[in-house]
Amino acid sequence: MQIFLKEVKEFIRDPAALFMCLIFPILMVLILGSFLQQLDISDHKIEDIKLHYTIENSDTLNSGAFEMFLSQADIFEAEKSADIESSRQLVQTGEITALVTLNGSDIELYCGDNGVSNRALSSVFNSYQQMSAIYKSILQTDPAALADIDLTDYDSSETFVQREGLGVTRSMMDYYAVTILVMMLFFSASGSSDAVNEEKKRHTLFRMLITPKRRIHIFIGTILGRLPEYIGIILSTMIFSVIICGARYCSDILGNLMLILMYFLVSAALISVGYLIGLLINVPGPSVFVPLCWTMLFFSGTFAKPVVIEGFSSYLPPYIIQEASFKLTLFNDYSGVLSVTLGSFVIFAVCMSASALIFSKKNFLK
């Protein structure tokens, strides 16, 4: 207990440790959060796109569907072209965005200089073509099936989210809040790999070892004394990312508590692994632990999603923890979190036992 309290006091009074564990994650969330919030604000409004359309060589079904689509789509202000050439000139002068031609079942676009609107139009009409093809296919094979489809129930981002049980609007911040937290836990664990070395450098380890206190008690006190700083990291990151940056984790208290429990046990596992590494090697623990963490985080998509490598990244601990977090926060699926929590506990127990054994026997003078 004395050793535990001493560790906590030292942590609270060490400005560098406090900065790394409490302020740094908050800064990361703030900086990345405001950056990502800016990303969520679009530069261009793509609604109210004015376009002219013509229909050539199309049957009644195709042309009817096409005209219905144009009239119902909110972002268009579509008008049938009276003269193709004059419509093209209007496109060139920028008075309308595009001239759309339905030729059979193909769609041709004659666009102006507005790249954003052009991409939006291209995307919308591509989707339309694919949907049309599907409907036609159903019509040819099982026309009765079409009668069951409620055409008014089209997918919007809102209905999709509600159907998946999310209940909230999601943003990139939700993704980064989790990855920043996982990153901080892994980086902070490097400190535990240097715990023994640090005590040796300060010569306090030797002073403790020659007291009547049993080595196992010294070991447990030292390792448990590291946990409060991880609770600090978890809570400060989660609370700040929610309050300041509007990140969202789980929609209910149970889910969030489960998430915190998982992060806590992940921290405990990381501390025990770091401690074990520190005991096994004769060089400063962080020199091994930090590059290892960086590599794992890098290939787990923590810094950038495109870095994920199929068949490899999914086995890396940061990836597994992130995926478990997303499963719970986005889809209310507890399976990943439960597995990680249990796995972390097993790793913690195994590494603690091994470290305790080594700590009890090791000659630290060597």
């Binding site: 009074r13 300060r202 306090t204 030797f206 002073r207 403790m208 020659i210 009547p212």
Partner: protein, 314 residues
């Protein structure tokens, strides 16, 4: 029975023999000095006595407890002041002392009082709430001592506790060690500062290359290499003075082994058994020589070390 008994101690690090068949005894209530140059084996011996390390062969007992077989019993009665400052920088002086004392089982009021007493003893009670990292080097050294004595150990092992401290702090530390002895504690004190050992140690052992060179009181050690002291008289010889006649006359005096005259200085080698040298001064006065200065010099531990090991301490 000796309070600490080191018997035929051997410690090897690979092929290097750090301690080679070392034996000595420390009596209860004395300050025992372990003297030797860096790398002589002092710290290794200390590490074995304090149970931090184990010997390859030989035995060490503290108050009758074997340091290997009865480690727990030994640890209860030992307090250590390591050579390096072993403190927690972000804890205050009182917190550092209380933390280490608590590891010896002290708690509550007893812990509080013992910690305060240790700080008072080392002159740090006014700085009890000052963080260790904000202390001067001398204050840290004193706090280092306070952490080693707060639990009232019967044996205090101090490994070069005055390294790098200012003269004032050194004096304070040496006084504190003497006071600990006066209160009944047994102290093992290692240093390569001869004058410190001469000043505070009741008995001492000289170690070199892991081996015991000599042990005893300062007087006993000095008598191992010489039975004489030097009396130096500074005077002014008149022109045409008969140096030979003067020298021969002094040589005839009792207990005088030899006489040398150099410039205006007379050096007499006199047997240690003598304590009154006034007859020598009287004899010099008979030659009508002025006495500008008279100095009596006894060989110190530096000379002993040099004579016994063939090289200087540092």
């Amino acid at each position: 029975m000796a309070f600490v008994k080191v018997d035929n101690l051997i410690k090897n690090y690979g092929s290097f023999c750090a301690v080679d068949s070392l034996s000595f005894e420390v009596e209860q209530g004395e300050i025992f000095g372990l003297l030797g140059p860096n790398g002589a084996g002092k710290s290794t011996t200390i590490n074995i006595i304090t149970t931090l390390d184990e010997q390859n062969s030989g035995t060490v007992t503290v108050n009758g407890y074997d340091t290997v077989k009865q480690r727990a019993e030994v640890r209860k009665i030992i307090g250590t002041v390591p050579q390096d400052i072993a403190l927690y920088p972000f804890l205050s002086a009182i917190e550092n002392v209380k933390f280490f004392a608590s590891l010896y089982g002290l708690k509550g009021k007893e812990l509080e009082e013992s910690a305060m007493r240790a700080l008072e003893f080392t002159g740090l009670s006014e700085h009890a709430k000052l963080k260790a990292k904000k202390m001067s080097g001398g204050m840290k050294r004193r706090l280092n001592i306070a952490c080693g004595i707060a639990h009232h150990p019967k044996l205090i092992v101090m490994d070069e506790p005055t390294v790098g401290v200012d003269a004032q702090s050194r004096e304070h530390i040496l006084n504190a060690i003497t006071l600990l002895r006066d209160k009944g504690a047994t102290v093992i004190y290692t240093s390569h500062y001869m004058h410190e050992v001469e000043e505070i140690c009741d008995r001492m052992a000289i170690i070199d290359h892991g081996r015991l060179v000599a042990q005893g009181t300062e007087k006993e050690l000095v008598s191992m290499i010489t039975d004489s002291k030097t009396i130096t008289v500074t005077t002014r010889f008149p022109h045409g003075f008969d140096h030979n006649g003067f020298t021969e006359q002094l040589k005839l005096l009792p207990d005088v082994n030899s006489v040398r005259c150099e410039d205006n200085t007379v050096r007499l080698d006199v047997r240690l058994t003598s304590s009154d040298f006034s007859y020598i001064i009287d004899e010099i006065k008979k030659f009508s020589l002025p006495l500008n200065a008279v100095q009596s010099t006894v060989p110190n531990l530096d000379a002993v070390f040099l004579a016994l090991t063939g090289h200087e301490l540092r």
